[in-house]
């Protein structure tokens, strides 16, 4: 019963805060409206310069093809390789193609590895197509069938991941500041001399963040439908279930950090450290299977990894309970144990 009163208090405090309600509304909007455009790993408009020493029909045809290609922005010809390299150094070109005695040299600026390799790969492809034109095809024709995401829409891939980021930031950082805040204010002492149970106290701190998570994710779903026309392929129920489980983990985790911290600054730095690690190792941006095995092992205890995996399955591949049961179980276990820890780490009697 006391839970009801404690909950009311938490909600009132959040509502009265000058900054939090605005943050809760504005943050998902900004993230959903901006980041899908930004999180675009597609490599476009690679600037290429050519050094044509041959001046043959073949080399002319290649340059023509380059101009026509929509991958490349053809920045003209240079007399020597040195001149072309200077262009790269001045950031006027990304790739150089040199044609000499019928041989091709592709030199790509690969400070950004993806860009470099994609650029040189595309370029090689164009050259290869040219060369094989007229000859018998080397390989048998290979057909590629893409399952899901038929339009190769990168936004569809990233939007469910954004749900994870929004939920993580909203339900992780705010509770991390909560108990430390009461400690710094001195009100926690008053709570500690009341007969309020540790469970009720911690639950009252957790539940508002779960509701915030639900609110935020509803906003995200509406925005992704309204702005991008993207809706989950699977059942929306599973999206909510997953979000609640993730919120359970992060809110408990935030409170744990808050319980052990002495100042708000400490809490936020520690939280930030874990958030960055969890996020980078979750497969949100990069495939987990490409990681070395020691790093891959950490994904077994990383709730973000399970969440990202599962929500992409639901959202993009249209999976249901059967497909994500393992992830649901893992998230539940991690979330519950964090909850228990959060209660255990709150000490009323030192």
């Amino acid at each position: 019963m006391t839970l009801k009163f404690l909950l009311q208090k938490e909600f009132l405090q959040i509502r009265r805060n000058a900054f939090l309600p605005r943050l809760i509304v504005a943050f998902p909007i900004v993230i959903m409206c901006v980041t899908p455009w930004v999180m675009n790993m597609e490599v476009k408009q690679i600037r290429v310069v050519a050094v044509d020493c041959d001046h043959t029909v073949r080399s002319q045809r290649l340059l023509h093809d380059l101009e026509a290609s929509h991958y490349f922005t053809f920045n003209g010809q240079r007399a020597t390789y040195q001149e072309a390299l200077a262009d790269v150094e001045h950031s006027k070109a990304d790739v150089i193609v040199e044609i000499r005695n019928g041989k091709y040299l592709i030199a790509a600026n690969s400070v950004n590895g993806t860009k470099g390799s994609m650029g040189s790969a595309y370029l090689s492809q164009i050259i290869a197509q040219q060369d094989v034109a007229g000859q018998a095809p080397t390989g048998q024709g290979m057909a590629v069938k893409l399952l899901y995401n038929p339009h190769q829409n990168y936004q569809l891939y990233m939007i469910p991941a954004l749900f994870a980021i929004v939920v993580m930031l909203m339900t992780g950082f705010l509770p991390a500041l909560n108990i430390v805040g009461e400690k710094e204010q001195g009100t926690i002492e008053q709570m500690n001399v009341t007969p309020v149970s540790r469970w009720a106290f911690i639950l009252a701190k957790l539940i508002p963040y779960w509701l915030i998570a639900l609110f935020v994710v509803t906003m995200c779903l509406l925005l992704s439908w309204g702005v991008y026309g993207i809706t989950p392929a699977g059942s929306v129920v599973w999206v909510y279930v997953l979000v609640i489980l993730l919120a359970m983990f992060f809110s408990s985790f935030g409170l744990i950090i808050s319980n052990y911290s002495e100042t708000m600054q400490q809490a936020i730095f520690v939280m930030w450290f874990f958030v960055v690690c969890l996020m980078l190792l979750s497969g949100l941006f990069t495939p987990t299977r490409s990681m070395p095995s020691w790093a891959y092992l950490t994904t077994y205890v990383n709730p973000m990894h399970y969440f990202i995996d599962a929500i992409r399955t639901v959202f993009i591949r249209g999976g249901g309970f059967h497909e994500i049961s393992l992830q649901l179980l893992a998230l539940l276990c991690i979330g519950l144990s964090m909850g228990v820890w959060a209660v255990a780490s709150y000490k009323k009697n030192a």
């Binding site: 006391t2 404690l6 009100t187 001399v193």
Partner: protein, 485 residues
């Protein structure tokens, strides 16, 4: 030339008038008191004089410099101690002092003599972090920091709130020596004995100056506010049943025994005053009784439950009001009441009923929906007390409940305490006001973690052959060998 000239200064925050046409002057080398209830505009006045705040109208000069245009000259000449602790909690006592000394272009070594009387008491703890000091000790350190340099004008905003009587006396003696060196002092205080030590005082109320004169004259003029009639209290309720029983209680932090083997008992319905100098161990003892801390050794029972093993049961039967604010600033009056009532398991209709009745009694019904942060200090304290006994506990623990409020508000507060006691609630209270000590049924005085005296106020006065409680306290506290925490 006068040290301070204030002419028709006014200041408003939105609709709230903080200062309204304030005019006064302070002569060089004078000790000038500013008295008045909380929210009278004292802090705003200090801030204007220290050039922290711009007045809306009027002029003010400090040491001959205008507060609007010559802020940097003034800042070079004044010292200021704000009302709340202005210390760096993660620096040690000595580091704090040295930093502030350098800030004002002097050194701890040079300024040592001028702060010796106060700093001497906490010097033993110079390597301790300021954050680990008790409230009163922090105040002493903040005082030392403010006094370590010799400004020409010194502004002290309630410098002795939470400081024990002995140290307060020493502090005012130090101020007297400053006067001899030609330093002008402007100080505010809720203590009458301190008011009497000023050369002149100004009584400020609701942003207006009601009177400026010698202290005796002002105190006489506003007798109802400063010298409310004493409270006659006859306790007939106290029964022999013991609600608090403590035997050989010890709390040690490392080798330091904050509470060193104390034994006492409190009877049901009694008002028990728990006195002691800053750092004598009062708060630590209280924390053990309220189940916030585990004792190192010894036994204790509160409301019939063991303080070691049944602390959560104890919490159901007690109320607690701490030095720091125990209400949530960002909740309204009614919401705070509702929250704490709910925590103690009261039912919805009962809460509603009782809230209405309680606010009625406090004549506070119209402020039901005001945020606590907007209330004056005295109101917050009365409210916090009413909330702490809202669930009709067996015992209520009050840790310096009346720190920093004026005599008439304190008087009203004690009326509330008596009402509670009349209903059979045992009151366990710590205070630094010795007039309040006289109001208690029985008192104990702690020195160096031990209880040095225990009995009714009258019996203690007889026992130590002293005229009043103030002298009893001073007599005992001066015997302290360790001075803190």
């Amino acid at each position: 030339m006068n040290a301070i000239e204030v002419n028709g200064v006014s200041k408003r925050y939105g609709n709230v008038v903080a200062l309204d046409d304030v005019t006064f002057s302070v002569g060089k080398g004078e000790v000038f008191g500013i008295i008045g209830p909380d929210g009278a505009g004292k802090t705003s006045l200090y801030r204007i004089l220290c050039t922290l705040l711009l007045p809306d109208g009027g002029t003010a000069c400090v040491d001959g410099f205008d507060v609007r245009k010559q802020a940097s000259q003034i800042r070079r000449r004044v010292g200021y101690m704000p009302g709340r602790f202005s210390l760096y909690e993660d620096l040690t006592v000595e580091e704090n002092l040295e930093f502030f000394a350098t800030l004002f272009g002097t050194t701890l070594h040079e300024g040592y003599d001028s702060i010796k009387a106060i700093y001497g008491q906490i010097e033993k703890f110079r390597h301790r972090r300021a954050g680990a000091l008790s409230g009163g000790m922090k105040q002493k350190l903040a005082l030392s920091c403010a006094l370590v340099h010799s400004p020409s004008v010194l502004f002290l905003d309630e410098p002795t709130t939470g400081v024990d009587p002995v140290s307060r006396k020493e502090f005012w003696e130090m101020l007297s020596t400053l006067r001899e060196r030609g330093i002008t002092v402007v100080a505010s205080t809720p203590y009458l004995d301190e008011v009497r030590r000023c050369d002149r005082v100004a009584f400020l109320e609701k942003g207006r100056i009601r009177g400026i004169d010698r202290p005796e004259v002002v105190l006489e003029q506003f007798r109802d506010i400063f010298n409310p009639p004493g409270i006659a209290h006859e306790n007939t309720l106290a029964k022999d049943e013991k609600v608090i029983e403590v035997e050989h209680l010890v709390k040690a932090f490392g080798t330091f025994r904050a509470v060193d083997d104390i034994s006492f008992s409190v009877k049901r319905g009694e008002i028990f005053g728990f006195l002691g100098a800053n750092g004598a161990g009062k708060t630590t003892a209280m924390h053990m009784l309220t189940g916030l801390n585990q004792p190192t050794s010894g036994t204790g029972r509160v409301a019939g439950y063991d303080i070691r093993t049944q602390h959560e049961k104890i919490k159901k039967h007690i109320g607690y009001m701490s030095q720091r604010f125990s209400l949530y600033d960002d909740l309204s009056v009614a919401e705070n009441i509702r929250l704490f009532a709910g925590i103690y398991g009261m039912k919805e209709p009962e809460i509603k009923d009782k809230t209405a009745r309680m606010l009625e009694q406090l004549q506070f019904s119209e402020h039901k929906d005001d945020l606590v942060s907007s209330l004056p200090l005295g109101w917050k304290q009365k409210l916090a007390f009413s909330v702490s006994i809202f669930h009709e506990p067996d015992i209520v623990f009050l840790d310096e409940p009346t720190g920093g409020v004026d005599p008439s508000t304190r008087r009203q507060f004690w009326d509330l305490i008596y009402q509670a006691a009349a209903r059979g609630i045992t009151v366990f209270v710590t205070t630094h006001y010795m007039d309040e000590a006289e109001y208690c049924d029985r008192i104990s005085i702690m020195v160096d973690g031990k209880i040095k005296a225990l009995g009714t106020p009258d019996s203690l006065k007889r026992q130590f052959s002293q005229p009043d409680m103030d002298h009893v306290f001073t007599y005992l506290a001066r015997q302290a060998t360790r001075s803190s925490d």
